[in-house]
Subunit: 107 residues, 2 copies
């Protein structure tokens, strides 16, 4: 599922996977690495997402010896939860049609 | 909704919109134009789609004075129908969660 705002994909599978990786790893650097993505791209995706939302999805603590690390906010957690719930509900509701569509595909 | 096969998006909103435009206009040229897409891109998308499916979604009649024009096959029609049906069913099934997710977005 993708949520577009104008021409921009506000929420899609890439951003959700990134939030989940961030939640697991506790840093943008590690999250990006686990998704084989550059730090710059991960940072830009998170920045874009934060701007699209009323409240940011990710909070980054400043400073400290190792840098502050990043974490999902309440909004970030709600977004991931709703997204995965919508996917599961949609898949369940559309099982017969999805099965029929898959039958049209080769192999 | 997108259906991916490996890393390739086999079926997604772009290809479905193209099939619908082709059904309305009867030619790849006119369909491409109506979507503000180059003929080459439209042709490549249709070719890719046809290769992904057991049976092609689009049939192009060869020759004739104006060229033969193109039309959806039975498979093409089934694909568009199932895709739009899945979208509608999914949207209906997930209305409360989608409404909650939308509330997280700015503006």
């Amino acid at each position: 599922m993708r949520v577009t705002v104008g021409d921009v994909i506000a929420v899609g599978p890439g951003k959700i996977a990134l939030l989940e990786a961030l939640d697991e790893t506790g840093s943008i650097t590690a999250a990006a690495k686990s998704l084989d993505m550059s730090y710059r791209r991960a940072w830009l995706l998170i920045d874009e997402l934060n701007r699209t939302l009323k409240e940011p999805a990710v909070a980054t603590a400043a400073g400290g010896a190792k840098g502050g690390g990043s974490a999902l906010t309440e909004t970030g957690r709600a977004l991931v939860g709703l997204y995965r719930q919508i996917e599961a509900t949609a898949l369940q509701a559309c099982k017969p049609e999805i099965r029929q569509l898959m039958k049209l595909l080769a192999s």
